[in-house]
């Protein structure tokens, strides 16, 4: 039984997307992956289908649905939580090509993409620490030079999110150990209201800039920045674009180029160049993670600060700075 008016047509490639829990529309991680496949859709003649499992237990089945049908040239598994499920499925379907983002699965038909989130977070930590000490006003926000406080809001506690926190705190510490970091978890990636109140309380405690790794909850952080006239830093994609309403308080975003990873993988499949069994480490050097300054106010950040951030970036790439990977 088909849908209304459905018609099949031959294409260069069919892609199955299995998103991380939380699903598309998070304006960050999953949406980035989706942008990758959409970009491929625009540039090549492909079709793609999407699965948005709601819990970790559903990954296995979602991956398998694609793989077992044999209709897909590539199955993209977005998110570290899919690793366990994929290691089984890769073995079961040796002829199916997979990619996985944010984890490493060792199998000949899987290509893994890993991002160096701590390093990316380290850089926005550096940026925040440098700014909180200076007098700076842009868009709808301004810093309070008397207080040297910054904040971090996490979604649910998990080793991954804690690695964002670890990198961020280390970045702040690297610049000025007297800058205080307030860190807090909302316990939910969807609780905008608590995200807002959490960030508000940070701003009220003197924070000038709050960095979030909290999915949808992060929208609350931007709202709080807006309401309190302070700054926020986004995550995963350039949130000054995806959350345009808050562009005048978003200094920068710690971008993970998930879209790049997905796009290049699809491209390689179309060109018959797909190589499994490898793990690509996407760090600062590969531009896999980067600091993208806000569309609207990013260019007002003093040059000496952005230069300092760039110096730090180079130092990390050169191995002069060791970035902690966990708390």
């Amino acid at each position: 039984v088909g849908g209304f008016g459905e018609g099949g047509s031959e294409t260069d490639a069919a892609v199955g997307m299995v998103y991380a829990t939380g699903g598309t529309g998070d304006d960050s991680f999953n949406d980035m992956a989706q942008q990758g496949v959409q970009q491929a859709d625009e540039e090549f003649d492909i079709t793609y289908d999407e699965a948005e499992p709601e819990s970790v237990g559903e990954f296995e089945g979602a991956q398998r649905d694609f793989a077992a049908s044999g209709d897909y040239d590539l199955v993209s598994c977005i998110g570290f939580a899919q690793a366990d499920a994929l290691s089984g499925n890769a073995e079961e379907y040796p002829d199916q090509d997979f990619i996985i983002v944010d984890a490493a699965v060792e199998s000949d038909n899987v290509r893994s993409y890993n991002f160096d989130e701590p390093a990316g977070s380290f850089l926005v930590g550096t940026l925040s620490a440098l700014l909180t000490g200076t007098e700076f006003a842009a868009g709808n926000g301004e810093t309070n030079p008397d207080e040297s406080v910054v904040g971090f809001v996490g979604g649910e506690e998990s080793p991954l999110i804690e690695s964002f926190q670890a990198g961020f705190e280390a970045g702040v510490e690297h610049v000025d150990s007297s800058v205080e970091v307030l860190s807090s978890y909302v316990g939910d990636f969807n609780d905008t209201a608590s995200g807002q109140e959490t960030a508000r309380s940070m701003y009220n405690d003197g924070a000038d800039i709050v960095f979030h790794a909290a999915g949808r909850t992060g929208v609350g952080v931007f709202q709080a920045a807006e309401a309190e006239g302070r700054f926020a830093i986004g995550v995963d994609d350039d949130q000054s674009v995806s959350q345009e309403d808050y562009a005048d308080v978003i200094l920068a975003s710690m971008v993970k180029r998930v879209d790049e990873a997905v796009f290049t993988a699809i491209e390689s499949v179309i060109n018959d160049e797909f190589e499994g069994g490898e793990t690509e480490r996407l760090g600062l050097e590969e531009d896999g993670v980067e600091t993208v300054y806000g569309q609207s106010i990013g260019d007002q950040i003093p040059d000496e600060i952005t230069e300092e951030v760039e110096t730090t970036r180079q130092a990390i790439i050169d191995g002069e700075i060791e970035v902690p990977q966990e708390l």
């Binding site: 990636f189 969807n190 905008t192 209201a193 109140e197 709202q223």
Partner: protein
């Protein structure tokens, strides 16, 4: 015989503890007590408390009407979800920032949110009153339907369980009054949904205690047959009470959505996240008193606001545990103040024809 403690004793004990805390906190500002005190005393805790109290207080007041009339509405959480979601989506459709017929689109969205919640309450009323459904089960169903429907609709419109953002209500500052020390910033410089909450609590109290309708609601929950034989249509009273619970919950959900959320996240437990259930605990705690429910919602919202701040202090308490404080408090409150007397006929469908 009486195993529990009386409400009065418990309130007394809580009061004594509070005084002890105050003294300890003032004497040793660096201690736990002092830190907690500074959090509790901080204006940002208070304003956060007021904002977070909105959905809890309004849903609780709504719940009071339904349950007092004999219909236990455990689906209040669903009503909050429905009103929050529909107010956002309607504002989005109309275009946030604009206005139609001299009323800003936010207020149109707000009105539709209340309407949607009332409509759901109407379905619940039909099912419980006319079809004599088990109220707990029907309430649960209302919650589950709302829990599925909001992200379902959102995915169709936005291709995502989350809606787009629509901006939020601005604070409304009452000139002069907002200058009053202590109370001014709290009560007279605050977003509109807080005024709505305060007004609704007063209105709810008046309606329940001072009008004939309010007395009928009480009678319908205690002894519907008495009301029936006094010539008042129990069915109509119950319908009205359940619809009222929809209106109040709608005010809470839409106010919270447009005043606080500015967007609706439909994943997981949604952006409402169980606040409707806290509301039920709140009105039980308040023993069905609308003003008491307002106070109770301050307690729970205050705890939520405090746990947020507590994390910032960086004490080495696991954040996951701190977050359970409000829930644990609900249990403690129920256990010690739990002598709430359910209305005699609550939960029973009324059948006028039966002996």
């Amino acid at each position: 015989m009486s195993s529990g403690l009386s409400r009065r004793t418990v309130l007394g004990a809580v009061g004594a503890l509070a005084v002890l805390w105050l003294v300890a906190g003032l004497a040793f500002p660096d201690s736990w007590a002092g830190a907690l005190l500074s959090i509790a005393a901080s204006p940002s805790t208070h304003t956060a408390m007021l904002r977070l109290a909105v959905p809890i207080a309004l849903a609780a007041i709504g719940g009071i009407f339904a349950e007092k009339s004999g219909v236990i509405n455990i689906g209040i959480e669903g009503l909050l979800i429905v009103s929050a979601f529909s107010s956002i989506i309607v504002t989005f459709w109309l275009g946030s920032g604009g206005s139609t017929l001299a009323l800003s689109h936010h207020w149109w969205g707000f009105a539709v949110g209340v309407l949607a919640s009332t409509l759901f309450a109407l379905i619940f009323a039909v099912v419980c009153i006319d079809f004599k459904a088990d109220q707990i089960i029907a309430g649960l169903a209302v919650w589950l339907i709302a829990l599925g429907l909001a992200p379902f609709a959102s995915r169709i419109v936005f291709d995502s369980p989350n809606t787009a953002g629509v901006g939020r209500f601005q604070n409304v500052t009452v000139p002069i009054l907002s200058e009053i020390p202590l109370l001014g910033y709290l009560l007279f410089d605050t977003p509109p949904q807080v005024y709505i909450m305060l007004g609704a609590a007063a209105a709810g109290w008046y309606l329940l205690n001072r009008t004939a309708f309010g007395r009928w609601v009480v009678a319908s929950g205690e002894n519907p047959k008495a009301l029936d034989t006094a010539g008042v249509d129990v069915r109509r009273v119950r319908y009205a009470a359940v619809l009222l619970s929809g209106i109040f919950a709608g005010l809470g959900g839409a106010g919270f959505a447009l005043g606080q959320l500015g967007t609706f996240a439909g994943g997981g437990e949604t952006a409402i996240g169980g606040r409707g259930f806290i509301a039920i605990a709140t009105y039980l705690f308040a023993n069905y008193h609308p003003i008491g429910a307002l106070g109770g919602s301050f307690l729970f919202a205050g705890l939520e606001a405090m746990q947020i701040q507590l994390q910032n202090l960086g004490y080495a308490v696991p954040t996951e545990l701190i977050r359970t404080i409000p829930y644990a408090t609900v249990i403690v409150v129920l256990v010690f103040v739990g002598k709430t007397q359910l209305p005699e006929a609550a939960g029973e469908p009324y059948d006028g024809d039966e002996e």
